[in-house]
Amino acid sequence: MQNNDEFLAALKAEWFKRFTEILADKTVPLSNLKCLELCEARCCPRVGMRPLSPDKIASPVVVLLPFEMEYIMEKTGVSKDVFRIWPIDLTPEIRLEIGTLDLGKPCPFLQANHLCGIHEHNPLDCRTFPLLPSLDPAGSLEWSLGENCPSLAFLSPAFSEHMKRTWRELLPMIPRSWWDLYEFADHWTGYPKPAESNHAD
């Protein structure tokens, strides 16, 4: 048990170090996205998004990396309750809790003016959008684009390449089960309201 605790503490420290490095990197090229001009917070899971038609939603879910929830909690003081938490098991004895935001647990950091209230600490998933990473069957990164992002056409290639490099560097640290959760998030918008169900009819 103590070994597991030590392992988790070391892993958490390593992730915190990486998040700090990523956030402190001032060499990131501008994304060139016209978020404020064109966007209506379509990639932030938020109150009022559920009834929107699918073409008005760019992303209804944010999936945090391992220990990113803890990092944000430490940096911003928010409680764990604001996140939806999913388990991923690294070993039979070691479980990580991964924080997500969705339409049932909307982003608590989005301000009324559509600005991000924690931009200096915001999740890598948010920073990367509209780039969407995934794993191919061989375990290599592949990329797609969030097609409903209204400023997609303005996305800077230099920014894209920078973010892809950031993810490539993180790849060895990300467990396969996290990618499974990320894949699941494509089919998840938040805990359903009572009227919604799996029933097709």
Binding site: P87, L181, F184, H187, T189, P192, D201
Partner: protein, 244 residues
């Protein structure tokens, strides 16, 4: 993505049911060869071949054989859950010489087609796909087991499978069946497994999967666990907290 594949050359599907004792015998022998560790579940295969076994009141069961050329090559056992809009894939397996020829993905596509037909037969618009329980590579005791488990999981991923983020424990057997006694399974223990949804086209287009329905469908309607069972509570603990 939904799978649309041509039938691999020389392959054919054969339905095993009460009208075909010879095929049932072939299916049992093949099952025992492909899944030697699960031989004690042969009565389950025989029950599923009846389609509507009284011990499985909520499912409509199928047993299929795959023939490749002159050889029996594979066996498939799955069920449509009549009380839901999805199915349960219990077994899919092939002889070593039949592997790697695209039979698995073809059989998955055929399974989806059958479940869709079943869904319509039971008054639904269509099937959302099926759930399958897959061994977790992290529980493997040896490298060989781990590789086997990773391969199995990857097969389901390549068929479009979505690994659901619920802590799932596989019960040893369906509750209250009349064809296996608890003493036959006394060495078996519930095991943690990945719960994977292999969605149909309809399921793949759902924006919001209902995990509660999936967990309830498998535990209550297939395994017939009592309400408030700890496995149900555990599986939904992250989503619902203490309520099931």
């Amino acid at each position: 993505m939904p799978i649309e594949l041509q039938r691999p050359q020389g392959a054919s599907l054969h339905v095993v049911n009460g009208a075909s004792p010879e095929l049932l015998s072939v299916a049992c022998n093949l099952f025992a060869d492909i899944f030697p560790e699960d031989r004690r579940y042969l009565p389950y295969l025989r029950a599923c071949a009846q389609g509507n076994h009284p011990s499985h009141p909520n499912t409509y069961d199928h047993v299929w054989l795959v023939r490749l050329g002159e050889e029996w090559a594979g066996v498939r056992i799955f069920s449509y859950i009549k009380t839901r809009s999805f199915g349960h894939g219990a077994y899919i397996g092939f002889t070593p010489q039949a592997r790697g020829q695209g039979l698995g993905t073809w059989l998955v596509a055929e399974t989806q087609r059958q479940l869709d037909e079943d869904a319509q037969r039971f008054g639904r618009r269509g099937s959302l796909g099926y759930l399958v329980e897959v061994e977790r590579p992290i529980d493997a005791q040896t490298d060989e087991e781990r590789l086997r488990d990773e391969k199995r999981l990857q097969f389901h991923r390549q068929c479009g499978g979505i690994i659901l983020p619920v802590p799932f424990i596989e019960p040893v057997m369906i509750e209250g069946v009349d064809y296996i006694s608890p003493s036959d399974l006394e060495d078996e223990n519930p095991r943690p497994m990945h719960l994977v949804l292999v969605p149909s086209e309809l399921g793949n287009n759902l924006p919001n999967l209902n995990l509660v329905d999936f967990v309830h469908g498998l535990y209550y309607d297939v395994y017939r666990l009592p309400k408030e069972h700890e496995f149900v509570k555990d599986a939904l603990s992250y989503l619902l907290g203490g309520t099931t």
